[in-house]
């Protein structure tokens, strides 16, 4: 569903990512793990077309995303950091607006129901709790019924209950056969959700495997593995 090969991006003399390659199958959750500045977000931004890579190939559901970005985007739903909505828009209005940008959107009411937002459907965005806002972000990513989900630290800043709620939603999505690419700093979350993870350091992937095998190979927890592989 997602194939990335030899992806690179430089900012001046600094290589933010350098030769990143991985592939994600349908029904798989793939985690990109690594310290801040390792190149996780740059990788996601290249895949989403927010940053133009200097080189490499990106394929989404068989579509060359660099050559046909708009068609590729129609297959992707994304939750990014530092995205928000207008204070006075309601979840229903936001979903209807984002549905208008999609060719075959899902029904607003069914999405509100599915993500537990029906009660807040007509409340202003600035009156929602942090967890509700994050759930709305996830709901918005689903409007176009995407085959691929890209989630950049989707549970950061949430309380344990909300974090668990979002994780359950992600697992439910996996069950529906979609491919999910996520980044997280929460290694428990990565171990719980991800089928495979790639450890990224200084713009390069230094290891790719299941969390269990990585821990077995390198010893300790997933945190220990990351620290060891990234020389921290």
């Amino acid at each position: 569903m997602i194939a990335v090969e030899g992806l690179s991006r430089r900012y001046g003399d600094v290589a933010a990512i350098d030769g990143i390659s991985f592939a994600i199958q349908a029904g798989e959750i793939f985690g990109l793990l690594g310290p801040n500045g390792a190149g996780k977000t740059t990788t996601l931004e290249c895949i989403l077309g927010l940053t133009e890579p200097d080189g490499g190939r990106i394929e989404i559901c068989g579509i060359d995303a660099r050559a046909n970005l708009r068609a590729a985007r129609a297959k992707i739903g994304a939750v990014l950091q530092a995205t928000g909505l207008q204070d006075k828009i309601t979840p229903r209005e936001a979903l209807e607006l984002f549905a208008a940008f999609q060719a075959a959107p899902l029904r607003t009411d069914s999405l509100l129901q599915r993500f537990g937002l029906m009660e807040k459907a007509d409340a202003a965005f600035d009156t929602l709790s942090g967890g509700q806002k994050q759930r709305l972000a996830l709901t918005l990513a689903f409007v176009g019924d995407p085959q691929v989900l890209v989630l950049d630290e989707p549970t950061t800043g949430l309380d344990p209950q909300m974090r668990r709620e979002v994780q359950e939603q992600v697992l439910a999505v996996k069950g529906s056969g979609r491919a999910i690419l996520l980044t997280t700093h929460d290694m428990d979350e990565a171990a719980r959700l991800c089928d495979r993870v790639a450890v990224i350091a200084r713009g390069r992937i230094v290891a790719t495997d299941t969390p269990r095998r990585l821990m077995a190979e390198h010893g300790g927890t997933l945190d220990d593995v990351i620290l060891r592989l990234t020389d921290r």
């Binding site: 989403l48 077309g49 927010l50 708009r70 068609a71 985007r73 129609a74 992707i76 994304a78 990014l80 530092a82 995205t83 928000g84 909505l85 207008q86 006075k88 828009i89 209005e93 209807e96 607006l97 984002f98 208008a100 940008f101 999609q102 060719a103 918005l140 176009g144």
Partner: protein, 456 residues
Amino acid sequence: MNALPHLLAVSLKLNFRNRMAILYGYLFPLIFLVAFWAVYRNDPVPLALHVGQFLTVTILGSACFGLPTTIVSERERGVWRRYALMPVGRWVFVAGTLLARAVLLLTAAALQLALAFAFGLPLPAHPIDLFVAFAAASAAFLAFGMVIAMLVDNVPAVQALGQCIFLPMLMIGGVAIRLESLPAWAQHLSAFFPGRYAVEAMQRSATGTGSAAFDLLALLLIAVAGAIAATAMFRWDKSVQPRRGWLLLALGVWLAVGAMAELRGPVTIGHAQDTGAVGAPKDYVAASKLAAPSWQVVSEADIDSIAFDRLPPDEGIISPVSRSDEEPDPILLSQLDRIRDTLPVWGPGNVADPVQRARNLLTIAAVPDILQMEQVERFAPRLVFARLQAVIPPHDLPKILYWIAMHPDDGDDAAVHQLGVFTLPDISGPSKPVRGRVMLYALKLLGRLSGHIVAH
């Protein structure tokens, strides 16, 4: 997929939920309109000569603050970053935002015009031309508003940069303060600000005077340059640095348009003068001795002693007089006709004492001048001069004019309060300034009669 109409509808809905946006978008233009009405309350036709000005203020407010504030605040909170992930072209989001702004602007202008009509503004002479001029001015300023939005990172910076554009345009760009009231250097400077062309294009459509072709061309060039620059500087995310070099294109066209205007012909209107004291009779006498003992014995030598070259110019704002080949705005014709028709039956203009009669008649020229009643102050003196020549024997008139000029504080000035029949307002406060203007107009007619002033 119906992205554009949906985005337009949501943008409008959100705008109407924002109290500050309503305040800026609708209340602010109405407050400006009332201010114009209050400042120019003595105009013969309320607001008719200021349509271009108050509509330009509304467009400027929307372009310098409303549009960029919306875009920058949405970009700051990551709304545009989210839009960037959608499988539609960026033009949809830009067009939706601009269209919403255009709708808000059009409704604000309609509201402003409705209130202006309630104040007595007549219907525009060429409504379609006015709409075209309004659209061109909106395009020019909204394109620049987009440039501001792409340039700055946060809302306080929009306010700061917006004020840097808005205030100079208002003060010395011919938008809030009439060009005629500005010194020559400021009038030259105003040619490099687009506000001047917006005001002129809309005013010409409203009052039906002159061609707005150059103004429309200027606005179109500014709009195209702004749109190109804003497109090149576009960014979804504030973390991306804008390509600031394109700002030079947007501002370069302002300079090019100003240069074109300067090359095309004079950009100054009249000579700006101090509206303060007009001086005493002795300031206009070349010889040392003042006046004869009575008006009957005024001699040619006395008249020759006047330094007519010291009088304010006819095209200035103190004691102006229109040229003989100059046509007034059509909206003024009815008032000028009324003055002409009423002069023969006006009591103070027919009193027995010829000196007082002349003094009273000159008041009709002096009062509109004091009140700076735009064109009335320039055309009324010609009617008064004609009437004076009709009711005072040609042999006496120069002597009487000389006498009045040399004795501005003599005689009765009750006529100042009897101008209502000409639809001229009463003036309150000391009548000394009126007497000063009576003196100047007496000298201007005297100069014409004696051949010292060759009027065009």
